[in-house]
């Protein structure tokens, strides 16, 4: 039985890593634009959403490059025998990107609560809306 060759798995894992963060950021960007479609009449809210989206997109670009270039040369990701190849400290890279992702997640799930608080609508409607938005926790 030949020994286990992880190369193919590693190549695909690299591809998945590159895809993963832009997906998250695009979804968040979509949610933010959606919210500014809903609550955009208020200038202050629209500006807040815009700035959050700028931060979100910048994070997407930064993390994309950090993940893509985590090892140089790139083939070092799946072929650790390459001489002179080196990687960043991946533990720090993964933990910090995850921390940023979780932070923006929480901000985005919390935003509707903040916006709804200032809305002048009947209490029942407010709770109904709150429930709908909190479904996003799924």
């Amino acid at each position: 039985m030949p020994p286990h060759d992880p190369t193919e798995g590693l190549i695909w894992q690299y591809a998945v890593q590159i895809l993963y963060n832009p997906i998250l950021a695009l979804v968040k960007s979509s949610v933010l634009i959606f919210m500014s479609r809903l609550f955009g009449q208020k200038e202050s809210v629209r500006r807040l959403l815009l700035w959050l989206n700028v931060a979100n997109i910048s994070q997407m670009v930064a993390v994309f490059f950090a993940i893509t270039l985590q090892c140089l040369p790139i083939a070092f990701n799946w072929d650790p025998t390459i001489r002179g190849g080196r990687c960043v400290d991946r533990r720090i890279l993964y933990i910090s990107t995850s921390a940023f992702n979780i932070f923006t997640d929480l901000v985005i799930i919390g935003l509707p609560l903040y916006i709804l608080k200032g809305l002048r609508i009947p209490r029942r409607t407010k709770f109904a809306l709150l429930f709908i938005f909190l479904l996003g926790f799924l």
């Binding site: 039985m1 030949p2 020994p3 286990h4 060759d5 190369t7 193919e8 798995g9 190549i11 695909w12 894992q13 591809a15 998945v16 895809l19 993963y20 832009p22 997906i23 695009l26 979804v27 960007s29 979509s30 949610v31 634009i33 959606f34 479609r37």
Partner: protein
């Protein structure tokens, strides 16, 4: 790859996660897109989430192909190399 780790409960669970959540997302996203199209209100947010959905499907397929497929079908590296 010849070593077969065997199917454990964890692997089955991983397969479930790999397909269930993207499927759930696909249902929600397509319902939403259909609604927006029907009312002629397809906007930026819909474009972004649709692109994200396509990428997510790609990710699901990739995850399945080389991490979960049984050994006889594990030829993804060759396919990748010939595709270039």
């Amino acid at each position: 790859m010849a070593t077969n780790p065997g199917t454990t409960g964890l692997q089955t669970f991983a397969l479930f996660v790999n397909f269930f959540f993207p499927a759930l997302a696909l249902i929600v996203v397509s319902t939403r897109a259909a609604g927006r199209l029907a009312t002629h209100k397809f906007g930026w947010d819909d474009w972004l989430v649709s692109i994200a959905m396509l990428m997510s499907i790609a990710e699901t397929v990739i995850s399945y192909f080389c991490e979960f497929r049984p050994p006889p079908f594990l030829r993804c590296r060759n396919q990748l190399l010939t595709a270039r």
